[in-house]
């Protein structure tokens, strides 16, 4: 009985994995397809990679997306961390509930609405103060920061709540002034949360198609916009090649993260063993 159940579970595991990864495997295989028509197999080839490397607009899009993602992640982390700190460490201030609600609103707001409202905002801003003159890099970055900071704030809030306040109280008790408590205790303890917030904001920005399409202007094509606009005219093998490169890039990052986590676990185990030897 038990054995059968576990065999069933194993089967389901493989079904689940297949469901997740077969599409990607297919994509990788088709990126090596010689044929110009994606569904028709024309033999193995790397010609689409060559086409890809020779088209400058792809690399411009990649560069633009990375720049936006980097600036977005940095600002979103800064603002999100401040918002999270205000929510968790500043006690009950006036308007805390409303502030908390507004902070998480972008998480549940449909992207189309966020994008549309930001577009209207930028247009009326231009009418009023003459800035931003044209939409593109700046407007996309601002738009991304507005929704990314909500994610960072949530992560920072969770981390701060989990940390508890006693370490900070202990530091204050030992004579550390509020600024010193922040720099010597709160920030180092918060660092993993800030890092994951930064990475999440970075990924959200790289990933975003809908909001960027609303607030972008001529000449500013991010990678998702580029891919989507090309696919609209039919499946294209060079885009498959691009996707394959992205998949490999992500896989390497995941592998590095797993390696770091594994090392961390090992260190914790060693710490525990050292601690266990102590009680005599």
């Amino acid at each position: 009985m038990h054995n059968e159940r576990s065999r069933f579970l194993t089967f389901m595991l493989y079904v689940g994995l297949a469901f997740l990864y077969i599409p990607m495997v297919l994509l990788v295989i088709y990126s090596f397809n010689y044929s110009k028509l994606v569904p028709v197999w024309g033999g193995w080839s790397t010609r689409w990679y060559k086409v890809l490397f020779e088209s400058p607009e792809v690399w411009e899009a990649v560069s633009l997306s990375l720049q936006i993602a980097f600036i977005n992640a940095t600002f979103a982390t800064l603002l999100g961390a401040l918002a999270g700190l205000a929510m968790v460490r500043f006690g009950k201030f006036r308007g805390r509930t409303i502030f908390g609600g507004m902070l998480v609103a972008p998480l549940v707001m449909p992207e189309v609405i966020t994008g549309l409202s930001l577009l209207i905002f930028f247009i009326s801003l231009k009418e009023l103060i003459g800035w931003p003159l044209e939409r593109g890099f700046t407007t996309i970055t601002i738009a991304h920061i507005t929704f990314s900071l909500a994610y960072v704030a949530v992560i920072v809030q969770a981390r701060l709540t989990g940390m508890g306040i006693s370490l900070e109280e202990a530091a204050a008790d030992l004579g550390a002034k509020p600024f010193k408590v922040m720099s010597a205790i709160t920030l180092p303890r918060l660092a993993p949360g800030l890092l994951s917030g930064w990475l999440l904001a970075f990924c959200l920005s790289l990933d975003d198609l809908v909001i960027a399409s609303f607030v972008t202007g001529p000449g500013s094509t991010t990678l998702p916009i580029l891919i989507f606009s090309r696919i609209r005219l039919g499946l294209r093998p060079d885009i498959n090649a691009l996707a394959t490169i992205i998949i490999i890039f992500v896989a390497i990052l995941v592998a590095i993260a797993a390696f770091i986590m594994l090392r961390q676990q090992k260190r914790e185990l060693i710490d525990q063993q050292m601690a266990a030897r102590g009680d005599v």
Binding site: E169, D271, M274
Partner: protein, 381 residues
């Protein structure tokens, strides 16, 4: 059935103790703390003297931790005043107070080594590097952790962490050391051992300790004085002996150790001698307070103060039957059922090893209970 030879009972020991000569180090004057509608600490007055090891004892939610946090400066009193060395603390933030706290979960900084943890407080005072390392070395020697300087807290056992936390709080030589459940996270054996270590260390450094604990045994062993707290108030304050032998309240009698609590009625109160009847007979107490004849109160009798023996035909004390036995090895706890179906708890030392099964008291044995009437405790509430 009535134990007729009732001798004089309790009279609280006078409040004098060896510390009370000088001005108190810590004065708590009418301090209350409200969280919304909830009153955590209710109009508390307390003086603590230099060199004392004072325990705030009470169950969870009794307000003891809130009171300690007000001393450290993490909470502000809703009303009342806290003075340390005669200085009003109301506007003084935690980082300027002459107090240090040892936190319940130790609150060691996980991203710093033992050495860095202990040096942290000294660095805030802007001491010279050499002075800091000297002080750190000395305090590590005191808590016997010289060899663990470079470890991080996660690499230490519970007992070692506790000592690091103590060292970190002590190294700043505070006027007042606040300890929040200092031993709660240790297992039983280690806790007992650490209790004595804590007392030794306090003796050596001479710092005044205020300890919060829910563990009455810990409070009894550690402290020079105890305040028993319930619902934000002090029920009784005194030395461990005063609290144990002369509780003035049912809550205290039952919270510290255990007690048989008997309903009593005052039959006479003449010249400071109060006579009370209970179903275990008459008790008389020396008492100066005005207790009206006919008023109801309680008489407490501790289980270990009652002797139990197999009833013989000549027995004329209280007779009962053994209803239940708890065998702890060194002692046994008997639940003795009286004729009126009341149950009396009795603790007996197992001084001798029983020769055989017949030698040992067992269920439904008819037993004789007796006690010295001076052991009875008069409980007004």
């Amino acid at each position: 059935m009535v134990n007729s030879k009732a001798t004089s009972g309790s009279a609280a020991l006078t409040g004098s103790n060896e510390f009370s000569r000088d001005r108190p180090l810590l004065e708590i004057k009418g301090v209350s703390k409200k969280f919304g509608d909830f009153t955590a600490v209710n109009n508390v007055d307390l003086d603590i003297y230099q060199g004392e090891l004072f325990c705030l004892l009470g169950g969870s939610g009794c307000g003891k931790t809130t009171l300690l946090r007000m001393l450290a400066g993490f909470e502000n009193p809703s009303s009342g005043q806290i003075l340390i060395d005669g200085q009003d603390m109301s506007e003084v933030p935690p980082y300027k107070r002459p107090t240090n706290m040892m936190f319940q979960n130790y609150a060691l900084f996980p991203h710093m080594t033992v050495e860095k943890n202990i040096a942290f407080g000294l660095e805030q005072d802007g001491l010279a590097k050499t002075e800091i390392s000297e002080k750190v070395d000395n305090i590590l020697k005191l808590v016997e952790l010289q060899d663990y300087k470079k470890r991080r807290p996660q690499q230490l056992s519970g007992g070692q962490r506790q000592r690091v936390a103590l060292a970190r709080a002590l190294v700043k030589e505070p006027k007042l050391l606040l300890l929040d459940e200092p031993l709660a996270a240790l297992d039983k054996k280690l806790r007992e051992q650490t209790q004595f270590e804590l007392m030794n260390i306090q003796d050596k450094v001479g710092v005044t300790f205020v300890v919060v604990t829910h563990d009455q045994e810990e409070a009894m062993t550690l402290s020079t004085r105890i305040a028993v707290m319930d619902k934000g108030r002090f029920i009784q304050t005194g030395t461990p002996t005063e609290i144990y032998e002369y509780p003035n309240d049912r809550f205290v009698a039952d919270f510290i150790g255990s007690a048989n609590i008997l309903d009593g009625e005052v039959v006479s109160n003449i010249e400071g001698k109060v006579e009370v009847t209970t179903y275990l007979g008459k008790f008389s107490f020396k008492n100066t307070s005005n207790i009206a004849k006919g008023s109801t109160l309680y008489v407490g009798l501790r289980p270990e103060k009652i002797s139990i023996s197999r009833a013989t035909s000549k027995s004329k004390n209280i007779i009962g039957y053994i209803d239940d036995i708890g065998y702890f090895g060194n002692t046994s706890r008997y639940k003795v059922r009286l004729d009126n179906d009341q149950i009396i708890d009795v603790t007996a030392q197992n001084q001798k090893r029983p020769k055989d099964e017949k030698d040992r008291l067992t269920y439904e044995d008819k037993v004789n209970l007796s006690w010295d009437n001076s052991s009875a405790m008069l409980l007004l509430k």
